[in-house]
Each structure stands twice: as structure tokens, then as C-alpha cells.
Symmetry: C2
Amino acid sequence: MSSEQVSVTFQPSGRRVYVLPGSKVLEAAGRAGLPLDTPCGGAGTCGKCRVRFAEGACEPCAEDRAIFPEAELAAGWRLACQSAICGDATIHVPDSSLFADQHQILAERAGETGELLPAVRKVHLQLPRPSLEDDRPDLLRIEGPAGPLRAGLDLLRDLPTRLRACGFAGTAVFTDHHLIDFEPGDTTAHCYGAAFDIGTTTLAGSLLDLRDGRELALASNMNPQIRFGDDVLSRIQKAGSAEGREELRSAIIGAVQDLLAEMCRKASLDREHIYEVVLAGNTTMQHLLCGLDVTPLGAVPFAPACGRGLMVRAAELGVGIHPRGAAYVFPVIGGFVGGDTVSCMLATRLAEQDGPVLLIDIGTNGEIVLAHEGKLWAASTAAGPAFEGARIRQGMRATAGAIEKVVFDGEVRISTIADSEPVGLCGSALVDAAAELLRAGLVTSEGRMRIEGELPAGLSPDIAQRVCVGADGQPEFILAPAGPAGEGVRLTQRDIRELQLASGAIRAGVNILLARVGLKTADLKRVLIAGGFGSFIRRSNAQRIGLLPGDVDRRRIQYVGNASLNGARWALLSTNARKTAERLAREAEHVELSQDMNFQMEFAEAMIFPTG
Amino acid sequence: MSSEQVSVTFQPSGRRVYVLPGSKVLEAAGRAGLPLDTPCGGAGTCGKCRVRFAEGACEPCAEDRAIFPEAELAAGWRLACQSAICGDATIHVPDSSLFADQHQILAERAGETGELLPAVRKVHLQLPRPSLEDDRPDLLRIEGPAGPLRAGLDLLRDLPTRLRACGFAGTAVFTDHHLIDFEPGDTTAHCYGAAFDIGTTTLAGSLLDLRDGRELALASNMNPQIRFGDDVLSRIQKAGSAEGREELRSAIIGAVQDLLAEMCRKASLDREHIYEVVLAGNTTMQHLLCGLDVTPLGAVPFAPACGRGLMVRAAELGVGIHPRGAAYVFPVIGGFVGGDTVSCMLATRLAEQDGPVLLIDIGTNGEIVLAHEGKLWAASTAAGPAFEGARIRQGMRATAGAIEKVVFDGEVRISTIADSEPVGLCGSALVDAAAELLRAGLVTSEGRMRIEGELPAGLSPDIAQRVCVGADGQPEFILAPAGPAGEGVRLTQRDIRELQLASGAIRAGVNILLARVGLKTADLKRVLIAGGFGSFIRRSNAQRIGLLPGDVDRRRIQYVGNASLNGARWALLSTNARKTAERLAREAEHVELSQDMNFQMEFAEAMIFPTG
């Protein structure tokens, strides 16, 4: 079936994905990293997720006809939540249809409002040359009326020579009230910054034009620290020695450097024109990349070294941008609720949302934030890296060859990324498969996989024949049979157990946090799902396995993409956003779930899959 | 005659000087670096300069009797401006009799007022250990309610280990809102800073206890850059190459390091407990010690690299104190009016003085500041190093063996520092000798030394026989005849020319500055004389040679000691003083004398000695 996949190209980003015919455009866009705005929850009623097919448009459905006039339908306009992909297609996504993270809003409004306030500013100056009538010191000449301007010794040492070499005409580069360079000529057109989401398993970077907030390149890679262990605790242990700490530090900085190099290549620009980086990650990742001592994060009460954001020279971190470029590392809330969570809160304006709102950032750690009546509670659960493909026998990241979707419709239908031969499965397929196995009665609510002889009556032969027993005597389910090109892909009993642990940890966290505040899942006005994985998850399946509460209307569940990266982008573009981040980090109440008396009980209960 | 000198010891400082019997206590105290407060100008009427002889008291004079009751006279109380030294003496100088520079006021009032506000603070803390109820990050734990606390990466990297090693009990060291260390135990008793006056010829340092402002040690040495030239222009030329700049930088930093080492030895303390240094020097010296490019200071319009004060890590300058200790380098006014002038303005509260007040800082450059009706004008003149002993054939600094006083009273009487065999003469003796030679008619007002056959009638034989001709055929005057122990000391025609240039430059500057503002010398309410040399100068002689205006009542001329060092001390003890310094530097109007159309004319006129 995977050979039936079709190619969908999104414009203006040019991102391309491969999906099964019949997939909704909304889903394909999510796969392409373009979460669309669906306040109606994909019911086809709000008309927010409008897109335009340039080629490969399907027939308009009733919902399309209710929203678009005939001329627009003829031009290819459709609702992404209703329209299916019927063949190779090219689809235009207007900015207004994207889930509006603050970075996007800012980039759109650049120039119109004063919100685009990056710490880095470039100003082309033709300064008056010193004269007897105007013998002001060089730095005061650049300062202007805005107030005291500082400069580091290394720049000051050569500033006089450089100013005179260019005849006092050039481009001053400022970060806040510091002059970091004076470049000959007018270089104002080259003013870039990079934002990073530093995950335990995955790193993502975004290169922005600081003049207008436009994204020039995106890149992501694996966190190379994985070779020291796939969760934060194993990293903390490894960092117990000075050598270990340095190994972890240089590994992650090396990955950041790689992302920077890749993005500079993609955008054809010079690293020296990147003047600032903003980094958001969980507390352990941020500490490790700064080379801080993480030993106290390994034991109760998990106290971090620092809480407020760090503003340092990028060179001090080993990040190779402009030699006097800056680095801002996000503030953290507590031991396991870090800068990435603050960044998500920032990107979604969580504190300003109406009614009880829950934010779930699904990653190796699952961070959960509840906003209610002007207050914020934040917690972290050790979900483990199962959703990112680790600890699953044939698990993998969502890259070429990964099964990313599983549907049972009498037979087993799978969709593989890049339409490749299936070699493993990623997190979304894990959730799909488990949900379908539950629906088919092949997995019990306790998570036991049924074996031959226990199978429910009426099971289709195609599905029944995929139930088997592995070499370890444990049940397995064949998602893709072995063939000439590969050994196939199987889901194991152990994989189901890993999923139960990961899903149960997050769900228990949600329940405890709600109980703390005296709320039930049904009270939630909205549930925001963040994280690279979160964008691909299918809500009904996440509800089926109990990861998301079943009594929350699907329309209240919204994907917000990699909100941590979006928040980092926003902080790169706005010093006001940083102030907000600092405030949010200090205002949020840190709930330490592992120490909650009810956590073990909740966890045990949440590991049980809901009955159909 | 030098064998007749007597020893005077001042308490509580323990400083000892040797003076001629008959010298006023006021003069001896000035020699000892203890400028006394004489608002009446030494007329014996204000009663401010009271001192107490512990031994060697002379008979009280009428002025003493008018001020002190009999019991106090019996206890040794006298007026320093009236009482003469009649033999070896030990004299107590109460703090209240010292010229009250702001550092002294601050040190006296420490604890009483909130004025003692050093940037460096130490606080002994017994922090609550992290617990489940209180899992705040380490740095926030130290922060307290005062607001965001920052720390550099190098400290943060090991902060968790160090806090835990000392059980969260120790001493936090802050500079402004930065944590620079957390020391085990209670080290609050060890909190030091050092202030420096960086002169073209002479460096002076002062080590202070930052808790109460007390001075723990003083030291001074020659500026080793002298080997590259004795004035700022020759240094600027030498610094034209990168190697030259580095040579000059490391030479002066080496001298600062030597002073630090000497003061730490004297006070028996550890350099690591010095957390801040404050440095004040002229613009060129400050630029050179920071390693800044000084090329533009070598040509019109002499624009400095920066104007505001610099706050950097001491380690960046190469100054070895606490590894994260700070350095504050004074703001400058312009190319040749630097941080030392700002520091003098600060120490004397010049801007707050009543009436037109003139400050003259006599050094290798003579800086002149006029305060009038809330405005400030500042100028610099290239006096050259003559007053500091350079460019004078047998000139030397005011150290052992230097003739420091010359009196003609029928014979030539000299006084030598430390009562040593005379080997040269220092600046005050140069002024004395020139004044006496003028009075005796041995030097004409054009500065020509008279030779045998031109001598005035009635000259005493002792003096007449000292007039001679040097090997170059030019007139010379024997101050100390050659003897078995040495070659003697002679003043040459060329020396007189150097003095004319030095004195004329300063006096021309004074005249131009006054003319700018529409004032005459007679309008001056006060003239403040600053500088190491300034403390030793005799006002009548300075007026006789025209260095100081003759129509200003002597009582309006006040010595303020090394005001640049005093201002640096004050800035070390008070961040408010730094703010004032920054403001003064920007408010003062920089008058570039060398470009004044009248300067050459004024200079030529000022070189003529006044007629008797």
C-alpha cells in the first residue's frame, strides 16, 4: 500500500510530504510542519483553515461549498480540514490559515507595529568626523541620544582605527545598549539570528531575518548526547564527572553548530552576520549546554543552578556566530520544567487564554501546564523517548522509511514517510497501531496483546494472520510483512508496555495537575498539543489510548506545532517577549509530580487503556 | 644646612618627614601627604587646622592663645598654620583637621549614613537548603528580594557543587547585581578594593577596606612607560604600532600590579580578597592601560575612543585581583582632559563650590577646571614633566636626596628629603629656587640668569659666589656645592627655561579659561591646587614666578592633595559618586586650548616672570 502514496507540495514554503490518497490536507500540512488554525476542531464550520490547490484539487465537498463562492472554488480554494488529497498536489497555504504563534504574528506585522523589538539592531550611520568644533569621543559619537552605550574592550581597542578606515560611515550593530560591531558600508540588509529548541532527543533550529522576522531556514537533527543515554537522568549521571560534563556539553554544542552550518548553507549567508542565538530546552539540556553542574538535578529536590534567563556571549558557549554575538538561554521554572516549557507558554500566550487551558508538550519529558483564572501550574513527567521512536524495538524518528500512520479498514493500511520501503515506525504510528489494536480487540485494556486462540470473533483474515509470536515467546503484530526489500516491521508486546508507560505518565500528570486545582478533564476549554511529535498525532487515537482525555470534545484539542521553537523565535524577535518569559517562569507554580502522594496510584490507573 | 633638619612624625598615620627648624607644621603635614583644612588661607583665624604636639611642642603664639584655652595649650594643641617646628616632634592630626575630601568624609561617616555604597558587597548567608517545599534554583536562593541577580557562566558552572560543599552557608560577593563569588564561611571581614591615580610620570595606589572606607596601605611608583618618552605625545607615537601599544599597556599594568603587590604586603592581605579596582588617569594613560588605540589622540582634534567610564573585569585588563573582580576606569571629558580631572572634580565637589573656583591639577599635563554659576569648563595644558623633576638637569622625584625647599636669607638654605646628602632637586625646590633667584635679581623677568659682572649691588657673598658658568658656557647657580660625598646640585639656564615653559603653559591656560567666561583672576573666590607636587609648592613662590596669579589672596589658595587619587577612592566606595563622575564628565565643557587663537600670545606672555 505504501507504493500508493502521493506527493503534496506546500507553497510558499516548498515543503513536500508523501501521504496516502484520502488523507486530509490538514493532516498533510501538519506532517509538513505547518499546523493550521482550526478553532472549530476540524468540523468544517469556522472557515479558518482555507488553502488553495494550485494543482491536484479534489471535488469540493458540502462544507467547502458553504464557505467559498463558486469563483473561489474554481480557483482551487478548499477547507484543509475537509478536503482530502486525491493525487499529487501543490497547495498554497496563506499565512492567515496557519496556527498563529506569536512569532508568525510578529513577522506578519513587522513594520506596522512596534512589537518587532529584537535585542540586535543595525543602524547605518554617516557620522560627523571629529573636528575642533565636535571632538566627542568615538563611542559617544555613535551613542546618539538614546543613552549610555557600552562596548567591550575587544571592540573598543580597535574602534578608532576602524572608524577612521571607513571614514566614519558604516553600520553599527547593537545588542541592547552594547555596541558589538561597526561594519564598513551599509550591512543593514544582513541582520540575522537563530532560535533553537534543544530537546532531549531532537534539536530544531530556525534562522530568522531580524529585520522582518522572516524564517530563512529550518533544520533539525538528533541530540548526539543520546549515545550517553536516552533520557535526562542517564545524562545527569554521565555528567557526574568533569570529563562527562564536558563531553555532554561539547556534544550538544557541536549539534547546534551543525544546525547553524546547515541553515547558513541553505540560506546562503555568512555566520558572522548572525548576531544572536536564543536557546530553549528543558532544565537539564540548558544546564548541559551551558556546562553547568547538573548533579543536583539528579536527586530530590532537583534544584537547578539558576532560574532566570542567561544572557552571555555566544562565544562563551562555543556557538560560532559573530565573535561578539549574544546568546539568550531561556529562564526555567524548576528542576524538570525548563525553558522549553516557558517558551511554549510564551508562544501560545497561555496565560492570556480564556478558561481552564491545558498545554501538553509531548517529548522525552512530557511537560504539562495548566492555566486557570490568571494562575499557572507547571509539571513534568518522565514520559521517556517512546513517542520519539526510542525504546520501541523498531521505533525511529519521523524520517524516510518510518511508518507514520496505521489504519485498520478490514486490512492493515500503512503510510510511510517519503513513500519509502517501511523500515520502522515513528510515534504517531505507534499511537495509531495501539488504538486500532484496541478497537479490534487484539490488545486488552490492561495492554496484553491477544495471541492466536484468543482472537475476537469476526476479525478480518488479513488482520488475524498478522498476529504472531516473537523469538522471545511474546506476542507480536506484523505492521509490514517481511519482503525481498526488508525484514518488515512488527509491533511487540514490549512496545505496547513502553507506550503504556509513556502515555500513562503524561495522563497521570494531567490528572494530578487538574486535581490540584479542583478541575476535571471535562472542564477544559482547550487542550494545546505541542512538540514535534504532537503535530502528527491523531486526536481520536490519542484519546482511544487514554493519552488525551476522552471527554474533551475533539474540537477543543488544538495542535500548536513546535511551540518551544516558536517561543524561542519570538524571544529572538522581541525583548518584550523575553521579559514576559522571565515573568512567566517566576509566576508559574512548579508542581513536583514525583513527590505527589497520589502520583503512583494515578500512574498505575492511567496505564490502563480506556475501554472502548 | 641639611644636617640641621629635624624629624616630624605624624599620628595616627605614623608618616615621618624631615624639615628645617622653623618650618610651619602646615607645610610639614603637606609634605607628609596630609593636606590640612585652611579655609582662612593659613591666617590663623579660622581655627580649623588644629593639631596636638605629643612631643616637641614650641611655645604657643598669639593666634594659638586666641583659639585654645590654657588647658589645651598645655596639652600640646596648636594651629598648624602658625606653629613652627623647633625640633624633633610627634604631632597628632585629628581627622577633622584634614582637608575633607569626600573619601575621608565617607570613611568617617561609614555606618552613620547610607553614603558608603561600594559596588562590591559581601553578605554572610545561611541559606535554606533545597527541599521539596522550597526547590528554588540555587541562584534565586541567593538573590533575595532585591531583584534579578546575574552571574557569569564560569561561576555558575560550579556554583551548585560549591553551595553543597559548604552546606549553603557562606559569603556571597556581589558587584552591583552580579554574584561574583560564594566563599565558604564568613569572609565578610575581608572585603577590599584599590584606587589608582595613573599619572604620566607617577602612579599612586590606595588600598581600602570597603566596609568602612579605611585606608590600609598607600604606595606609589614611577610610570615605567617613561622609558618610551616623558610626555603623553611621545607615548602616543610609540603606541602607533601594535607591538608598541602592547609594550606600553603591559608596562603600565605591570606597575599597577607592583603597587597592588606592595600594598597587599604592607596590609598583610590576600589579593583574592580585593574585588574591585578604580583607575583614574589622563585620557592617554587610561587608553593605554586598557590597550585602546591612541592614534587619534596624537592629532587634531584629539578624539578619544570612549568618553563614559568603563566597567570591565579586572582580569581583562590584566590586573590580578579576585578572578571575577571588577575594574572601573573613569569617564573622560576629552582628548587631554581625562579621568584624573573628573576624579579631582569629584573629590573637591568642585561643581558645588560657591563663586568662581579654579582647580589646577599640576602634573605632566596641567589640567585646569573652572566652576562658575553651575557650569564647568575644563582644559589641559602640556606643562611637561618639569614639576615632577624630569627635563631638569638634576631634577628628580620627591624622594630621598631631593632638595625640596630653597630659601635665600643671606645665604642659601636648602632642605633635603629624608635629610640625605643632596643629589638633585624636585619640583617644589625648582619653584623656590627660581622665585628666590628672581627676588635676588639673579634671574631677569625674561628668565635670563645673570652672570658675573651683571650681578645686582649688595648681593650677599655666599649667594654671589654660587653664580657660575657651566661646561656649555651657559649660566648656572650652585644650590649645593660639590663635596666629598657628591657632585653637588646646580640649577641651569636651561632648567629655568623648562620652568618658564611649564609654568607659562599652565598660567596661559588659566588666563584663557577665565577670559572665555569673562572673568579675571581677581574674581576667583578659591584656587584649589591638586597633584602630588601641588601639595609641596609654596604659594608665595608659585605666585612670584607667575604660576599662580599674584592678585589672588593667598588665603584663597588651598591645597587639596592628590585629589585624583581621592576621587578614585571615593568612586571605589560609592556607586553614587560614579554616577556623579559620569555626569560631571559629560556636563563639563571641553576647551581645547591649543586651538585657541589667543593661546600662543598668552603663552608667550605667561612665560615672562612677573616683575617683583
